[in-house]
Symmetry: C2
Subunit: 435 residues, 2 copies
């Protein structure tokens, strides 16, 4: 594969004060590429994605070598094992990254879908058709696979990506993005459809959040709470994100106990570090006598710390008192807060007061109660008789997601390819003029 | 109708420095009302809308008296006739305002629509359902009917409205909003579902654009270019708006001349002050010999000033030279810029370089050319063989619109009731847990 490395490989610079001019130029290149990418046929975008997947495999050696350098620095800096694990690539993980890019190529084309179509009495035929959003900036931290994943999702949806890697994964991201750009070049698409911010300078993030003179249409933060909080607070452009996933499982009076136990254990403990993991259990007073004990004991026996209200504390001496702060905390760990509520109204009020509008589940055999919960709880995802851990674009059937949003504008819940699109109206006439 | 005027009628205050605290309190009241309004059944919202329409008719005397005071001030301030006309209400116009509110009541309920529904292999059934956005702030200028119109659209879509009237229409808006709140009270909905900013203090606008501590979900500016520019530049929350409507009519080589003449005259001159009026005519070189003359002569004969390129200037001595600035200008007047383009690619490039991504039309008997234009022109609305003046929510069949947006996020084109909604996912299970 012929490449011009000067074009394809981002050159790191850390001269202070350079970030502003550098980022404006990067933004202009992104905007210039956006129209070409938006008008590229699905076959061209898919060919590029497959070439990107192949380039990731072909470039395994330089990618893993760069990753080794990043890992050495991270170990020297004293980062903990979880951090190192997030940063680490090996041959198997890199293969999975390439597989994920190829899988995105195989998804249906989200661009050009006709999402509404109607004809007015004057004969004008209207179509609402999906179009790319434009330029999407993705700011991530240590997970280098996000570069490939986000770049591929943006390209598949006809968008251009500006990727900002965390300092710790900078070398790895540089090599991964190099491979992605090889794929773009091989398919005849502009290499600037995917750009990595070529500096560790933190001023680059501020420039992105300010919108790069109109070159950024939306920002997607992929990382920890402090990153998301900064992006949500400082961005002058729209953001797809969620700050917290303080998810609730509500065991209603009419809940089947066996189902409630299975759902609760799964919602809390299948994986504790995902945003859809349950953080608070609410149990109706009417079924507490029969249900609270088994539910709390299951959690304790599985190694989960339980912080409970007075009722929960009577179940087991291992239950510690919950503080007011616990109701609003996303533990992301083997910890859960447990409360007995008076009734469904009390449960909904608790969720609205302390929740994060992400994902909540009711367990109940009473359809009317479930319908009320699903209607009144103002969260992106509300489930009846299912685990909160289904809060995931893959589980929704979206094929892939760039994140989960709790905002109310444009995207909400899992942000898949459809949500990475805007739309326009095509109107077909036969000479109609307006009276 | 029993009313408590202390609650229902906003009290004007102009003490300097009070705006901040006043606006925060107003934002808290809006947010508190939002959940109640979002959960109110369609029948309750529609009953309120009909009561609002009735209250507007019942309160004609105080509304018209307030309007007379606003008009007297506006005349004393030396405002021109067009300004006075925008501000002026009479019995007939007020009736039309009330009729419009009643008509909104009769539209289908946009809340609770299921916009997608599917089942995953594990049996989970997913529904994407329309929900209200939350709190919508509408900032308008002299047209007092906007208060009723925007308030009604927000309520119909389950949202809460914060209305900010221009200083010149403040008294009229105060009386109109009083009537709207009478309607809310009569139907048992919280009167704070529609609030007027109770001060002329300009600091209130800044507070709204900063988002009122999270109490504002979206801002809609309704007024002139300078208002929209300020809102777009300063808002920290999403904005539904368009800055310019620099719309194009492109007469393609294969255009039927009679159709092109009719569409152009309508697009430019039916009403020159609307955002969908055409501002630039592009004519293919291949048909300029036959088409340019009649098209330009029609415009001139209808009293429209023509600013043309060299080719257009040869048609008639009344054609004056177009400047570079004219290609980017929304004249909103009997003025048009005219240019001969080499071909469809040249036309699309011109529109992308100088246009405002609002509304553009191609006139052509060639379906492939039309398809290319509709695909490649990146505007909210693209039309084939129809007038750009169809850029209107009513003409789209939306029943009503709160404005037209050229942003790419959430809403684009006419912003009707559907676009005033967000969505959430309801997931129906039978005990599913995630493997």
């Amino acid at each position: 594969m012929m490449t011009n490395d000067k074009t394809l490989r981002v050159i790191a610079t850390s001269e202070p004060g350079e970030a502003g001019a550098l980022m404006r130029a990067l933004g202009r290149r992104a905007r210039a590429a956006a129209r070409q990418v938006a008008l590229a046929p699905a076959s061209g975008r898919d060919a590029a994605l497959l070439a990107m997947a192949q380039a990731l495999r072909d470039d395994a050696a330089p990618i893993l070598a760069a990753n080794a350098l990043d890992l050495a620095d991270a170990r020297a800096a004293g980062h903990n094992a979880a951090f190192i694990d997030r940063l680490m690539l090996d041959a198997g993980r890199l293969d999975a990254v390439a597989d994920a890019v190829a899988a995105i190529a195989a998804l249906p084309d989200p661009v050009g879908r006709i999402t509404a179509e109607w004809t007015q009495p004057n004969g004008l035929r209207f179509e609402r058709v999906a179009t790319p959003l434009g330029v999407i900036a993705v700011i991530f931290e240590s997970r280098p696979n996000v570069a490939a994943d986000a770049g591929a999702l943006c390209l598949k949806s006809g968008n251009v990506a500006i990727l900002r890697a965390g300092s710790d994964s900078f070398r790895t991201a540089t090599e991964i993005v190099h491979a992605l750009r090889l794929g773009l070049e091989a398919a005849g698409l502009p290499v600037d459809a995917i750009q990595l911010v070529p500096t560790r300078d933190r001023a680059a993030v501020g420039a992105i959040l300010a919108g790069l003179d109109g070159a950024v249409d939306v920002v997607v933060p992929r990382g920890g709470r402090s990153l998301v909080a900064r992006v949500q607070s400082d961005a002058r452009v729209p953001v797809f994100a969620h700050l917290d996933g303080n998810c609730h499982v509500y065991v209603h009076a009419a809940a089947d106990l066996a189902m409630a136990r299975a759902i609760l254990l799964n919602a809390k403990l299948r994986r504790t570090g995902v945003c859809g993991s349950a953080e608070t259990l609410l149990v109706d007073a009417a079924c507490a006598a029969t249900h609270l004990g088994p539910l709390v004991s299951d959690l304790l026996d599985a190694g989960c710390a339980v912080r409970g209200d007075a009722a929960a504390q009577t179940i087991d001496p291992r239950v510690t008192p919950a503080t007011e702060q616990d109701w609003a905390t996303e533990f992301l760990d083997k910890i859960i807060a447990v409360k007995v509520v008076a009734d469904i109204g009390d449960a909904i009020d608790h969720i609205e007061r302390h929740g994060s509008h992400h994902t909540e589940a009711i367990v109940s055999a009473d359809g009317a109660a479930a319908a009320r919960f699903l209607a009144e709880v103002d969260s992106a995802i509300v489930l009846h008789n299912a685990s909160t851990q289904f809060a995931d674009g893959g589980e929704f059937g979206f094929g892939a997601e760039i994140g989960i949003a709790t905002g109310r504008m444009h995207a909400r819940g899992p942000v898949g390819l459809e949500q990475l699109c805007s739309f326009k109206y095509r109107v077909h006439g036969a000479g109609q003029i307006r009276p």
